[in-house]
């Protein structure tokens, strides 16, 4: 993407107007729109994801649903979650939700990551993992409110959906979008997708009787670059555990903004503290200390020392008058 942008011809000699292709570059925030109301659960997006990203075969678990596997996997980033929801009136809704990375504007994984350059948020909103910089600490796993990053125990790296940053960088849509046969998946600018999503939600309310239909774009993580149209936006949990109010764990805030500066400061000030003690109070040596060059002439206030006047001879004792014997007598 960077190459295309820097090699974009802005001006051309002897050429009127803008250079060819000027303004064609995507430099706005992108967004994937998933309309759960038109998903038919065909899993074409799952296949396209595995194909495009060249993933190895992943054995699955059969648990009496149509769902390919219980959870996403390090080599299976795109999973349609099938849920049977019973309405209060006894009718059943068969809900299908494509589960993948939400590409938050305020990504918990990125906040938690200690490794330089392992997690990147691009200006177009895509949150991407750079496995070459990943150290496998899995901080991102517990930092993600959507339970998305997956650890590969073989490579000791964490993987997740890239929103096909490689394709998007070349002006293409993500692989899942290309494969979707119903148009339930759409891709474009965040603004456009929000507009379409709201239009669809209004349509669902007015024409189909879904009074609570709405758009899922949680502001608690600053909005996401994958948004859903839901039949009932008041209860996203029913769509296979989509959190109503996703948040980065509070402990991460304490950890990142309180503990980290505190330990750094503590270490520095602890060091300065003992240094200050050494300089001001000084070390406590074994008694009696060997006599110094002579008795002190002045005490710290500038008065002549008690041992001073008689200090013709060096017999007046330790560094402070009567120091050792005073200590001794207190001791006895």
């Amino acid at each position: 993407m960077a190459d295309r942008k820097t090699l974009q011809a802005n001006e051309i000699s002897g050429h009127t107007g803008e250079g060819p292709g000027y303004g064609m570059q995507r430099n706005y925030e992108v967004c994937k729109l998933i309309d759960t109301t038109t998903c038919i659960g065909c899993k074409a997006c799952e296949v396209a994801c595995v194909e495009w990203n060249d993933m190895p075969f992943q054995p699955t678990t059969f648990d009496n649903t149509y769902q390919t596997m219980p959870k996403t996997h390090w080599n299976f980033w795109n999973l349609i979650k099938f849920n049977e929801h019973q309405n209060p009136d006894g009718t059943i809704q068969w809900l299908m939700r494509k589960d993948q990375c939400m590409h938050c504007s305020d990504p918990g994984c990125l906040a938690a990551c200690p490794s330089d350059g392992a997690i990147v948020k691009y200006s177009n909103g895509i949150v991407d993992f750079n496995q070459e910089n990943c150290i496998g600490c899995e901080y991102c796993v517990s930092g993600c409110p959507f339970d998305i990053p997956r650890f590969n125990p073989m490579t000791k790296k964490v993987y997740k959906c890239t929103l096909c940053s490689d394709r998007v960088g070349q002006g293409l849509e993500p692989a899942c979008i290309k494969a979707c046969p119903t148009g339930c998946l759409k891709f474009g600018s965040k603004e456009d997708m929000k507009f379409i999503a709201n239009e669809r939600a209004t349509q669902l309310k007015e024409n189909f009787g879904f009074q609570n239909a709405g758009v899922y774009d949680p502001s608690s993580v600053g909005g996401t670059h994958v948004i859903y149209v839901l039949h009932d936006a008041t209860d996203p949990e029913r769509y296979g555990g989509l959190p109503k109010n996703p948040t980065i764990p509070w402990s991460y805030t304490v950890w990142k903004w309180l503990f980290k500066p505190v330990l750094g400061t503590f270490a520095v000030f602890g060091f300065l503290g003992v240094l200050a003690h050494y300089v001001t109070v000084g070390p406590r040596a074994a008694q009696p200390e060997p006599p110094k060059a002579g008795p002190p002439l002045k005490d710290s206030l500038g008065n002549p020392s008690a041992g001073g006047p008689s200090a013709g001879g060096p017999s007046a004792g330790g560094p402070s008058a009567g120091g050792p014997s005073a200590g001794g007598s207190q001791n006895g």
Partner: protein, 248 residues
Amino acid sequence: MASGAIDRFDNEARQKFESIGHTTVYRGELFRHPVYTRVLHWTVALFFFLALLSGFALYLPALFHWLTPMFGGGPLTRILHPYFGVGFVVVFSLQILNWLHLMLWTPADSRWMRNIGKLFSGEEKVDPPDTGFFNAGQKAEFWVIVLAGIFFVITGIVMWAGAQTFGGSAVAISYLLHDLSAIVIVGTITIHIYLSTIGEPGTLHGMIRGAVTEAWAWTFHPAWYKQVTGRDPVKACEEAQREIESSR
């Protein structure tokens, strides 16, 4: 029963290590730490600093590029850090057994703690006469490390096994407690290193050569001095003072 087994184990270990290394005690010195204790102490110190530096690398992103190369890069730092912790815990557990009966808190220690300000300010040059082999500050440090170590182990296991085993929130809380333990232990160790090196000169010899001067003993651990020599620490100090004066 159990304490008997621990004593037997410790005595055996001390004898075995004494046959490997040895401690030379010169005239005017007292035997303080056997070879076994010294080996344990410095092995603990080694694992402590390996764990501390690798931990700092992961803890403070500002130090990531400074400290990870020491351990062979980021991924290896992350892999090694828990093993350093395991090494620390195993060796320090032996040290707990080795020192347990010396570290039990006594009324004299409470008195020492109330008196700590005068020692800190340098007002009193000599420790209280009932200060034994370890003073209350050393005992407090020991138990702080034990406590922090317990936190390190529990939270470390949770973080090592990961969110799949213990759940995301348990892991998130563990990061906090792990770091809290680190904050406490870093402060403790700063004071420990200061006092044992430049703060109270002569102390380091006890842990390197195993012997300390008698003057050091009657100054910092008078009750221990009395116990091993049978002489009165105050009188011994005054005698040494007179000797210095008469020699001048």
